[in-house]
Symmetry: C2
Subunit: 236 residues, 2 copies
């Protein structure tokens, strides 16, 4: 069945967060030198991402957006690794690095083309301002931005998927989750959505140990967002 | 000051609701003949729009979306004027006429061009699914869809403007409300937003008695959305 809407994961699937964060950490360390490589700091910062969302998923903490979580996580990492976050303005600039991440090379043209036939929605853990800023930074647009601020929780909580479909007035089976992460697709399928795996083998750096292969029989497995268009034709 | 984001009213400013509703009523009346002209029914249906939002604005009714209000209003009008709404499937199709309204001729190209320089957001009383369906129907897209479902109230309630700016992480003065309705702009300015009036002298039919002229010294007065781009240059 051809879906009506494609729901895109953003961090890792559409944008290359690691390169973007490393780039901006390198700039920060020019003013506040660090004994750590920016790669180490970027990975340590990102490692706190999933655990920091857990209290919101399980309801023990009220929803706060990713700017808040990224800020808290950065402060923890700076303390643990021992580097200088600098004055408040510089800290803020660094946290906002997540609003100016570069796209993978196929993302802009791929989404533009898919928009001719499908509702293309972001369904990210990012909030509205972050997701629109990423799109403006890279000069593309979504048909609609969904994501954490709309569904008031973080993936892979079940409501993150069901509430997104509901916001579009579509049945889960009419929607397809597009992600580079098997865990995201597993959770989406459990709620009845169709699934497309996009391979991003260097999202976590050159030695990425996971998400290199599909872990299940996803409806689509694609090498890029550009490839999705043809793969969706084959679904007929 | 050049704004960072343009917040667009949709019904009347971007899309021509009256022609679209008349067109679909005409189709409906082919199956269920009516003694009333579709123009009369369309105007009666729309006349209930503002009063039906009032209980939500003043807090005496919880937020419901426009599909619900359009459905209730249609049933009232059908009863009052005495025409047949037909089987449930036909009723539903008629209510969904608000999801397939045609754009004014300058809207698609105008918004596409403005997106090169500004965040272009819808800030409509429409909900997410309705607003994205209008955009897909007319083959354009917003950078971000805001509106009633995000702000949980209806314009011109003050929160409709302040919460929209907040969702973008922008100050009100960094945002410009774009509308064909003086009342919308009056309410937006009261919350500190910049304002642009777009003249739509036939929105309410050939003898429209109001909103023909700007009622205040709005930052911009434009004849079309295409004209906005140049007018925004003059703001510098």
């Amino acid at each position: 069945m051809i879906p009506k809407a494609l729901l895109f994961d953003v961090f890792g699937t559409v944008v290359d967060w690691r390169s973007g964060i490393i780039r901006d950490l390198r700039v920060h360390f020019q003013t506040y030198p660090s004994k750590h490589e920016p790669e180490i700091v970027a990975d340590a910062w990102r490692a706190r991402y999933e655990p920091s969302m857990e209290p919101i998923r399980d309801g023990s903490r009220d929803y706060v957006d990713l700017d808040v979580l990224h800020s808290e996580n950065l402060m923890t990492v700076a303390e643990e690794l021992g580097f200088d976050l600098g004055v408040e303005e510089h800290q803020r600039w660094l946290i906002m690095a997540w609003h100016r991440l570069p796209c993978w090379s196929d993302s802009v043209a791929g989404i533009e083309r898919l928009k001719n036939r499908f509702i293309c929605a972001s369904q990210s853990n990012g909030h509205l301002a972050l997701t629109v800023n990423l799109a403006k930074y890279n000069q593309f647009s979504w048909d609609i931005i969904l994501g954490s601020e709309i569904v008031r929780t973080y993936k892979p909580a079940p409501e993150a998927y069901t509430r997104a479909c509901k916001a579009l007035c579509l049945e889960p089976a009419e929607c397809m989750m597009v992600a580079a992460h098997n865990s995201d697709l597993t959770a989406a399928r459990a709620q009845g959505l169709q699934t497309a795996f996009v391979r991003r083998p260097t999202e976590y750096g050159p030695d990425q140990p996971f998400d290199l292969e599909p872990s299940d029989n996803w409806e689509i497995v694609a090498e890029s967002i550009s490839d999705l268009n043809e793969a969706l034709d084959d679904l007929r």
